[in-house]
């Protein structure tokens, strides 16, 4: 590293564009009545003659897929084209049963839009959407190790996708990652996808090039099929470093498609431009154009669920940190509960719950929070409010409630976490502490007017009461006794 001067690296500006495939959560496939949910299905069981590309089969457009695509477009702040058309994209591969993929090219359903992303330093940035088009997914190919054959599973063939194509507006791996996360939020909040990244419900292709400032864009590479935000970030980072190094050595970047090796955290060459497919796109005469009228678009708009922006605006009132807001948005059930608490129980309860949830989210203490309710959170908050529970104890109770069930009060009692707010009980502990010779100096300091030392004495009382003494009450009693 030391012989790579940082100064020369900074001369290269990376430029990044991202294509994101989103599987739409329709009941049936894009062009057939076959079941679209193949997540737990045996290979080749959610298929019809259409999915197999049998002779004589014809595609019939699933209207629900169009509705979801329009909804996705509206979530992207994009224009919706009133006329759009399907085209065929040709290449041979065993996971593509017809020898072509039905897609859109010249006239996609979703036109230009814009997505605002928030970076770690608190700044905002706009990433323009070039368009989003509807297309069908391909099947899956697996290559059993050691076997001289491959296996084709067409369950996924024909699943409706939208491909969201960004402009090359991003310039760092962080921007790429945050953009991918924002798309995920928009698409899941809009309710167009299950958003199950593990099952490939959203997949990202990153186009990366680097060039010196003021010079035209460099030659780009496309790293395909990334299915986590981390992989997006790492792949972009890797490509920026790789390309910069090559250019610094005076070498040329090869325009190519690259893959991502998750184990080695590296991109690798898959196919160069010379070997690129000529897809021979042309209109698909089996499918009439999609004509959408204003009434339909308005109807879809009216059905659009609350998007992250709505939550962000509401959470602004709570004065939450950007990172707290992001961690809440990352789990929509949390965001919904906070919004709920805010409306029903007020700002203070919502803010308190927001901090609890964001810390359990970031600590990843709770895996399954499906049993968590706003009632539990409201009850916990109320207990803190009246000094029955300390903030720390409240978190402990929360974890217990979620993991094993039960009411917050019962758990707090069982765990002996309730704060002692009985004046007599606290006063007797205070007396013990003040009488302890080890605290004599502190006692005399407080009497001499050194107010800061009260905190030390409060801490001693807390310690003695195993954290249960109400700190405010403790302080009040110490003051009464010494001043």
């Amino acid at each position: 590293m030391s012989d790579q001067p940082t100064a020369s690296r900074q001369k290269y500006i990376p430029t990044i564009g991202i294509e994101c495939h989103v599987q739409l959560k329709t009941k049936t496939k894009l062009f057939s009545g076959a079941n679209n949910d193949a997540r737990e299905a045996e290979p080749n069981t959610t298929v019809s003659p259409i999915c197999f590309g049998l002779p004589g089969t014809l595609p019939v457009l699933n209207k629900e897929a169009v509705r979801l695509a329009v909804r996705a477009g509206l979530a992207l702040g994009a224009s919706i084209n009133r006329v759009s058309r399907f085209e065929r994209k040709h290449y041979f591969y065993p996971d593509l049963p017809k020898g072509y993929q039905i897609s859109q090219l010249a006239e996609p359903t979703v036109g230009p839009g814009v997505v605002t992303i928030r970076l770690g330093d608190g700044s905002e940035k706009s990433v323009r959407i070039h368009h989003a088009h509807i297309e069908e997914d391909a099947g899956k190919l697996t290559h059993p190790s050691g076997a001289d054959y491959s296996l084709v599973d067409l369950n996924r063939a024909g699943t409706p996708l939208i491909e969201i194509v960004s402009e090359p507006d991003m310039h760092s791996s962080e921007e790429a990652k945050v953009y991918a996360q924002e798309l995920y939020l928009l698409m899941t909040y809009a309710g167009v996808t299950h958003g199950d990244l593990y099952h490939g419900n959203m997949r990202f292709d990153v186009n990366v090039s680097v060039a010196k400032e003021g010079e035209p864009l460099g030659t780009r590479t496309e790293t395909k099929n990334l299915n986590s935000f981390k992989a997006v970030e790492r792949a972009v980072e890797f490509e920026i470093a790789r390309q910069t190094k090559l250019l610094e050595k005076g070498e040329k970047i090869v325009q190519e498609t690259r893959g991502w090796n998750e184990d080695r955290q590296q991109t690798f060459s898959q196919r160069s431009k010379e070997n690129a497919h000529d897809y021979r796109y042309f209109p698909d005469a089996d499918l009439p154009p999609i004509y959408l009228d204003d009434a339909f678009v308005d109807e879809v708009r009216s059905e659009l669920p609350a998007l992250p922006g709505v939550y962000r605006a509401a959470f602004k009132e709570l004065g939450l940190d950007g990172s707290v807001v992001q961690s809440l948005l990352a789990r929509r059930t949390y965001a919904d509960m906070i919004l709920d608490l805010q409306q029903v129980h007020g700002k203070q309860t919502a803010t308190r719950a927001a901090h609890w949830l964001s810390s359990v989210v970031s600590d990843e203490v709770l895996v399954d929070t499906s049993s968590l309710t706003t009632e539990t959170l409201a009850e916990l908050s109320a207990m803190v409010e009246v000094n029955e529970l300390s903030s720390t104890a409240a978190k402990e109770v929360l974890v217990e409630v979620v993991e094993h069930g039960g009411s917050p009060r019962a758990i707090a009692e069982q765990k002996n976490l309730l704060q002692v707010s009985d004046e007599g009980a606290v006063a007797s502990v205070v007396d013990e502490v003040l009488a302890n010779p080890a605290n004599a100096k502190a006692v005399s300091d407080v009497k001499a007017g050194n107010d800061k030392v009260i905190g030390f004495l409060v801490g001693q009382v807390m310690k003695k009461s195993a954290g249960k003494a109400n700190p405010a009450l403790t302080q009040k009693i110490i003051r009464e006794k010494l001043i």
């Binding site: 002779p55 004589g56 019939v60």
Partner: protein, 461 residues
């Protein structure tokens, strides 16, 4: 043999006997029109029809009427080969909508007919299983690609057969064999379950011995199908004897058109005039460019539609060291020369750098052709031309000369590109007794006009 005659026979001897007789005729086929006989299912269905008839129940408008289907239409209890090596052993797991509709009206499919492999051709010589011979001359072609269906009807095996028409594949063999061939409006009949050739012009239609039968069969098979997004409703198929304004397409005469065809067409025109119809000439300046447009647009579409035949899922598969070799070997073996020629043309015209010069340009000219038809129809009920520039040619005469072979489609492709309704009606014969057909063309959805005009013409010839 008309449908009415067969229905009378059903009444007399029952559906089973009628179907058995049709199967016997199909087995005795000397022209190689029939590729496969469907016996078990046909007889079972005949018994069902008989049971209904005996109980006095409604057994459908085509109860017990045997028919044959071109072998690119998917049927149960048989192979559907498209006359290709690629699908030589393909058994369909579902039936085409047209077959379902015919069965729902009691018609009984007794077998499959020969065609040019994947319907690529105008003579049925491109069949992997060998050519079908002309009804009137064993040395001559049946026409094509629905040659087997046309000959099966002309030789009286069945009263009607289904064909498919992409650029003339119903009309031209009908003309060569002296039968009626109807290419309905594009989209009026479901293509679901029909091995696709060109998605924007493929249409299924009947080949019959009378116009009335063509009307009946179309009435049964037409209609919107939820499994084919391009299907539309056409106007009701009412019959009228209204006097017509007929436009004879000027560009149909001249170079390449046989003298016997010109004579027969002119005689037909005179008969129509004498019967009180108004006949004049109409200009369709791009009519003769249609063939060039057709042989760009259709190869583009068919190369795409044939991409699924890769040897992986079904059909002919040849082993290879790697995936590319498997593809190459399977497709090289499975397709005929004419298939390969068209696949190459199609890929060429769609490839990057040539798309604008060929495919896009062809689509522009296609729009001109449609506009010219619309203009002509603003002044005429019906347009008239010969169905083909020549009568049936000799087997082997054009096999070495694809361009000459393509010229046989020159009268029929314009209507295919425009999606309009067209029919070939037997109009006369050459001195040597070969049939010559005349083509009538009406606007989209006006199949009733084409049928009414054809019926009036039929009565004059």
């Amino acid at each position: 043999m008309t449908i009415a005659e067969i229905q009378a026979r059903v009444k007399e001897v029952g559906a089973r006997k009628v179907v058995e007789e049709a199967i016997t005729r199909a087995r005795a086929d000397a022209k190689h029109a029939v590729l496969e006989v469907i016996e078990t299912r046909a007889l079972k269905r005949a018994d069902e029809v008989d049971a209904k008839l005996q109980k006095g129940e409604n057994a459908g408008r085509l109860a017990g009427v045997p028919f044959l289907a071109k072998d690119n239409i998917l049927t149960f209890d048989s192979k559907t080969t498209a006359s290709s090596h690629m699908l030589e052993n393909f058994e369909a797991p579902y039936q085409a909508t047209v077959i379902e509709k015919l069965e729902a009206e009691g018609a009984i499919c007794v077998g499959k007919t020969n065609l040019d492999a994947f319907a690529h051709g105008g003579s049925t010589e491109n069949s992997y299983f060998g050519p079908t011979k002309n009804t009137y001359d064993d040395e001559r072609v049946a026409g094509g690609s629905s040659g087997g269906s046309a000959v099966a009807v002309a030789t009286g095996i069945v009263p009607f057969a289904l064909g498919s028409d992409t650029g003339g594949s119903i009309r031209q063999p009908a003309s060569y064999n002296g039968v009626v061939g109807l290419k309905p409006t594009y989209g009026s009949v479901s293509r679901y379950g029909v091995v696709a050739m060109a998605s924007s012009t493929d249409v299924v239609g009947p080949i019959t011995t009378s116009v009335e039968d063509a009307r009946l069969v179309l009435d049964v098979i037409k209609g919107v199908d939820e499994r084919d997004g391009t299907t539309i409703e056409i106007e009701p198929l009412l019959s009228t004897d209204k006097k017509l304004k007929i436009g004879v397409i000027r560009q149909c005469f001249g170079e390449g058109v046989d003298e016997s065809v010109v004579r027969t067409t002119n005689e037909t025109i005179e008969k129509l005039k004498a019967a009180g119809h108004t006949v004049d000439e109409v200009d369709l300046p791009t009519f003769r460019h249609a063939l060039a447009v057709y042989y760009i647009v259709v190869p583009a579409e068919l190369t795409s539609n044939l991409a699924r035949y890769d040897g992986i899922k079904y059909g002919t598969q040849k082993d290879g060291a790697d995936l590319t070799t498997v593809y190459e070997a399977s497709r090289s073996a499975g397709f005929m020369d004419e298939n390969k020629r068209r696949i190459l043309i199609g890929n060429y015209v769609l490839s990057s750098g040539y798309y604008d010069a060929y495919y896009r340009k062809a689509q522009t000219v296609r729009t001109l052709i449609i506009n010219e038809f619309n203009k002509a129809f603003s002044e005429h009920d019906i347009l008239l031309s010969p169905t083909a520039p020549t009568p049936a040619f000799k087997l082997g005469e054009n096999t070495g000369d694809p361009l000459q072979m393509y010229l046989a489609d020159m009268m029929t492709v314009p209507a295919s590109l425009a999606g309009v309704s067209a029919i070939s009606v037997p109009a006369g014969t050459t001195e040597t007794g070969l049939p010559v057909g005349v083509q009538l063309i009406a606007p989209m959805r006006q199949d009733s006009v084409v049928l009414s005009a054809a019926q009036q013409l039929e009565a004059l010839c």
